[in-house]
C-alpha cells in the first residue's frame, strides 16, 4: 500500500494561484504576478514528475478520496481522484506543456493590459483541466469539463473591448454547452442503469455482464460522443474553434491545441469499456473523426490567417485521434494526443513569435522572407512542420502512422476506406503546412509599411525582430520534444518496443496485431511518407517555385475555391437553421408571450386587482357619518341575530 500521493494538491495549487492573482493581482507589480503564476504551475509539474519517477513502485489503480459530495439514498458521488497510466500521461502533458506556455506568456503578454487577469484565468484553466484528468468519477470530471469551457470563454474573450473576441467567446461557450448537454444525458443514463457514476464501479459492472451489448450502452456512448464532439471540436460542433483564435496566441496553444480540446479524446479512452460494447458507437466515432479530419484539412488549404490554418489543422488532427478511438486503438489515440500536444503547441507558439515579430500581423499574404530575420523561430517552426506532416523520425510520423495502420487492419468493415481517407488527409496536411511554411518564411517580404494591431494590441515600430529568450526557450524545448517525442511509441516492426502502447495496456487493453504482420506495417509506413513528400512537393511548386500558380488555380476552380474559403458556409448554415429560429422564438414567444404577457402581465394583473379591490373598500371609508351609521345598524342586527341563535348559525342554513 503506497503512502498518500496528495493528488489533491495538483489541481489545488493552480487554483490558489488563480485566487491570489485574481483577487489581488491588480495591485501587484508585474514581477509578483509572474512569480505567483509560474510557481502555481511549477509545483504541480514537479509533483507529477516525482510521481512519474516512482511510478513503478505504486500499486494501481490508486484512488484518493478527499471528501464526500452527494449521498442521496443509494446514490453517492465523492470528490475523489484516481491515478493510473492514462492519467499520468495526461498529467505530464497538461502540467509540462502548460508550464512551458506559462513561461512563453510572460514574454508574449508582457505589454498587455490585464496581465494579471490573463495569468489568473490561465491558472484557473489549469485547475479545471487537472480536475478533469484526475477525476475518479463522471461527476467530478464534468466539473472539470464545464470549468475548462468557462476558462476557455474567459480567455477567448480576453481582449474584452473587441466585439469579435467577445462574440467568439460566447460562441465557444454556447457550442460547448450543447456538447455538455450530451454529457449530462449520458450521466443520467449511467445513474439510471448503473446507480453510480464512479468509473471503477461502472466498468466493473460492465465487465461482469458480458451479455450487455449495444442497447442502452449504445445510447450512453452516443451521448458521450456528443459531448466529445463539442469539447474536441468535431463535426458538427467544431465551429467554435476557428473563431477561438481571437484569443491570445498562448491561449490557442494551451487550450485549443494541447489540452482542452483533447479532453474529449481522453474521455472516450477513459470510458472505452462502454464503447467496446457498442460497435455502432465505435463506427460513429471513426466516421466522425475521419470526416472531420478531411473536412477541416480542405478548409485549411486556402485560409490566409496563419492562426486559422493552425486551428483547422487542430480540428483535423483531433479527427485522427477520434479515428483511432473508433477503431479501438485507444493507445494510438493517446500517443497521437501526446505528440500533437508537442508539435501543435510549438506551431502556435512559433506563430505567436512570428506575429510578435511583425507587430501583430497575422495575414500570411503579407508575410514572407522571414527566414533570415527570425532564425530561431524559423528552425523551431520547421521542426514542428516536419513533425505534423509525418516525416520520420519526427514525432508525428510514428503516432499518425500507428493510427493509419490500426485503421487499415481494423476488423471494422470501414477500416480500409477510413485508412484511405486518412492517408489522403495526411497528404493535405503536409501540403497546407508547407504552404504556411513557404508563405511565412520564404520568398520576398510582402509586408507593408503599416503595422497591424490585431492580435497583439500594440505596435512596436522598430522593425522585425526576434523574440526574447523568455519566449524562445519554450520553443526550443518543444522543438526537441517534437523531434524525439515519438520515440516512445516506435512500433516493433521498425525496431522499437512500442513502450507507450505497453505502458497504457492495463488501461486500454492490448492493441491489435494483424495477421499480415510487420511487413504490412512497413509498407503502409512507406506509403504515408511518400504521400507526405508529394504534399511537400506540390507546396514547393505552388508557393516557392511558381508563386503565380495559386492565383491561376484559384481562378480556374472558382466555385470550389470559394466554397473552401468560406468554410463550406457552415457558420451561415447554422446561423440560418439554428440561430435564427431560436432568436425568433426568444423574441416573439418567450419574450413577447411569456415574459411580457404571462409574467409581467400576471404581476400587473395582481397589482391592478389589488388597486381595484382597494378602490372598492375605500368606498366604505367615505367620511360620511350616516353611511357609517348604516353599516353600524346592519352590524348590530347581525350581532343580535348571532347572540340569539348562537354561533352555530351557519348550521341553520344547511
Amino acid at each position: 500500500m503506497t503512502s498518500s500521493l496528495h493528488l489533491w494538491l495538483i489541481p489545488l495549487v493552480p487554483f490558489a494561484g488563480f485566487l491570489v492573482n485574481g483577487l489581488l493581482g491588480r495591485r501587484f507589480p508585474k514581477a509578483l504576478v509572474t512569480t505567483v503564476a509560474l510557481i502555481a504551475t511549477l509545483i504541480p509539474f514537479v509533483q507529477v514528475a516525482n510521481i512519474a519517477l516512482h511510478f513503478s513502485s505504486l500499486t494501481l489503480p490508486y484512488t484518493e478520496q478527499v471528501a464526500t459530495w452527494i449521498t442521496a439514498g443509494n446514490f453517492h458521488a465523492d470528490f475523489a481522484f484516481a491515478l493510473d497510466q492514462l492519467t499520468l500521461i495526461m498529467l505530464l502533458v497538461v502540467t509540462g506543456v502548460g508550464f512551458l506556455i506559462h513561461i512563453y506568456s510572460v514574454g508574449y503578454m508582457a505589454e498587455e493590459e490585464g496581465y494579471w487577469r490573463f495569468f489568473a484565468y490561465l491558472n484557473l484553466f489549469m485547475f479545471f483541466m487537472l480536475t478533469l484528468v484526475l477525476a475518479e468519477n463522471f461527476l467530478l470530471m464534468f466539473v472539470g469539463w464545464e470549468g475548462v469551457g468557462l476558462a476557455s470563454y474567459l480567455l477567448i474573450g480576453f481582449y474584452l473591448t473587441k466585439d469579435s473576441a467577445a462574440n467568439a467567446g460566447k460562441k465557444a461557450f454556447v457550442v460547448n454547452r450543447i456538447g455538455d448537454f450530451g454529457f449530462l444525458l449520458a450521466m443520467f443514463l449511467l445513474i439510471a442503469h448503473f446507480g453510480t457514476l464512479s468509473f471503477s464501479e461502472v466498468f466493473n459492472q460492465v465487465a461482469q455482464h458480458p451479455e450487455w451489448q449495444g442497447g442502452f450502452l449504445t445510447a450512453i456512448a452516443l451521448f458521450l460522443i456528443l459531448g466529445a464532439t463539442g469539447k474536441s471540436a468535431q463535426i458538427p460542433l467544431y465551429v467554435w474553434l476557428p473563431d477561438a483564435m481571437e484569443g491570445p496566441t498562448p491561449v490557442s496553444a494551451l487550450i485549443h491545441a494541447a489540452t482542452m480540446v483533447t479532453a474529449g479524446v481522453y474521455m472516450v479512452v477513459r470510458t472505452h469499456v462502454i464503447f467496446d460494447r457498442s460497435p455502432f458507437a465505435l463506427s460513429t466515432i471513426a466516421v466522425i473523426g475521419t470526416a472531420t479530419a478531411l473536412f477541416a484539412a480542405t478548409i485549411g488549404l486556402v485560409q490566409t490567417d496563419i492562426k486559422r490554418v493552425l486551428a483547422y489543422s487542430t480540428v483535423s488532427q483531433l479527427g485522427y485521434m477520434f479515428l483511432a478511438c473508433g477503431v479501438a486503438a485507444y493507445s494510438s489515440g493517446i500517443f497521437h494526443l501526446l505528440t500533437h500536444a508537442f508539435f501543435k503547441a510549438l506551431l502556435f507558439l512559433s506563430a505567436g513569435s512570428v506575429i510578435h515579430a511583425l507587430s501583430g500581423e497575422q495575414d500570411m499574404r503579407v508575410m514572407g522572407g522571414l527566414r533570415k530575420k527570425i532564425p530561431i523561430t524559423f528552425w523551431t517552426m520547421t521542426m514542428a512542420v516536419f513533425a505534423i506532416s509525418g516525416f520520420p523520425p519526427f514525432a508525428g510520423f510514428f503516432s499518425k502512422d500507428e493510427i493509419l495502420y490500426q485503421a487499415f487492419i481494423s476488423p471494422n468493415g470501414l477500416g480500409k476506406i477510413l485508412w484511405f481517407i486518412g492517408l489522403f488527409t495526411a497528404g493535405l496536411t503536409s501540403f497546407y503546412m508547407f504552404r504556411l511554411w513557404y508563405l511565412t518564411f520564404f520568398g520576398e517580404s510582402r509586408a507593408q509599411a503599416t503595422t497591424a494591431h490585431d492580435d497583439h494590441g500594440h505596435g512596436h515600430g522598430h522593425g522585425v525582430h526576434e523574440s526574447s529568450w523568455v519566449m524562445l526557450t519554450p520553443l526550443v524545448i518543444l522543438a526537441i520534444l517534437s523531434g524525439i517525442g515519438g520515440w516512445v511509441g516506435v512500433p516493433e516492426a521498425m525496431g522499437g518496443h512500442a513502450e507507450i502502447a505497453h505502458f497504457l495496456s492495463p488501461v486500454t487493453g492490448a492493441a491489435h496485431e494483424a495477421a499480415e504482420g510487420r511487413s504490412m506495417e512497413l509498407l503502409l509506413a512507406a506509403v504515408s511518407v511518400t504521400v507526405a513528400v508529394i504534399g511537400w512537393f506540390i507546396a514547393h511548386l505552388m508557393y516557392f517555385a511558381k508563386p503565380a500558380l495559386p492565383a491561376q488555380l484559384a481562378s480556374k476552380v472558382r466555385g470550389l475555391y470559394s466554397l473552401l474559403l468560406n468554410k463550406y458556409w457552415v457558420d451561415e448554415l447554422y446561423g440560418a437553421v439554428v440561430v435564427a429560429p431560436l432568436l425568433l422564438i426568444s423574441r416573439y414567444v418567450l419574450k413577447g408571450l411569456f415574459d411580457t404577457g404571462v409574467i409581467t402581465g400576471g404581476g400587473m394583473a395582481i397589482g391592478y386587482s389589488a388597486q381595484g379591490l382597494g378602490a372598492l373598500v375605500q368606498r366604505v371609508q367615505s367620511g360620511n357619518i350616516r353611511s357609517y351609521a348604516g353599516w353600524l345598524a346592519l352590524g348590530a342586527a347581525a350581532l343580535l341575530l348571532l347572540t340569539y341563535v348562537g354561533f352555530g348559525t351557519h348550521l341553520l342554513f344547511r
Binding site: 350616516r626 348604516g630 353599516w631 345598524a633 346592519l634 348590530a636 342586527a637 343580535l640 341575530l641
Partner: protein, 164 residues
C-alpha cells in the same frame, strides 16, 4: 286600567318618536322628544319606579332637552335642506334597523309566556329603597359619577369656549 294607560302613553311615545323622525326643523323634533320623555315617565310610574319617573322629568325633559333647545336656538339651526346624502345609509341602514326591530319583536313575543306580566302596584320601589342601595352598596360608583359630571362640565366649558 293598566292596559288602557299603557296603550295611551305608549302610543304617545311612538307618536312623539315618529314626529321626531318626520319633522324637518330640529326644534320641532326637540319638542316631540320632550313628549316622548314625559310619556316614558308615566310608564315608569306604571312600572313602579317613582324616583325614576321624577328624575326622568326633572333631568331628561327638564335639563337635557332644555339644553338641546338652547343650543338649537344658539346656533340658529334652520330647516334641513336636501343634500347629496349617503346611499349606504338607506340601502344598508334601513334593512338593518328593520332587522333589529323584527328580531327583537320576534324574540320578545316568543318568550312572552316566560316573561311575566306587570301589575299596577305589583312592585313598588320607594325612593328610600333606592337610596338605601345606592348609598350603601354602590357608594363608590355614585361618587365616581359625581366626578364624571365634574369632568363633563369642565370639558363642556373648555370645548365651547371662544378662542382668543
Amino acid at each position: 286600567m293598566h292596559l288602557v294607560l299603557f296603550l295611551i302613553f305608549g302610543g304617545l311615545c311612538v307618536a312623539g318618536a315618529l314626529n321626531l323622525l318626520l319633522q324637518r326643523h330640529p326644534i320641532n323634533s326637540a319638542l316631540s322628544l320632550i313628549v316622548v320623555m314625559t310619556s316614558l315617565a308615566v310608564l315608569y310610574l306604571l312600572l313602579g319606579a317613582e324616583f325614576l319617573a321624577a328624575a326622568q322629568v326633572i333631568v331628561y325633559s327638564g335639563a337635557i332637552m332644555v339644553l338641546f333647545t338652547f343650543v338649537i336656538m344658539l346656533l340658529n339651526a334652520g330647516k334641513e335642506e336636501r343634500t347629496h346624502g349617503s346611499k349606504a345609509a338607506y340601502i344598508v341602514g334601513f334593512p338593518g334597523a328593520a332587522a333589529l326591530l323584527g328580531i327583537l319583536t320576534y324574540i320578545f313575543l316568543k318568550q312572552s309566556d316566560h316573561l311575566g306580566s306587570a301589575k299596577l302596584g305589583g312592585y313598588l320601589v320607594t325612593t328610600s329603597d333606592l337610596s338605601r342601595v345606592l348609598f350603601r352598596d354602590l357608594l363608590l360608583p355614585f361618587e365616581v359619577t359625581s366626578v364624571l359630571i365634574l369632568v363633563a362640565i369642565l370639558g363642556a366649558v373648555a370645548l365651547a369656549r371662544r378662542e382668543h
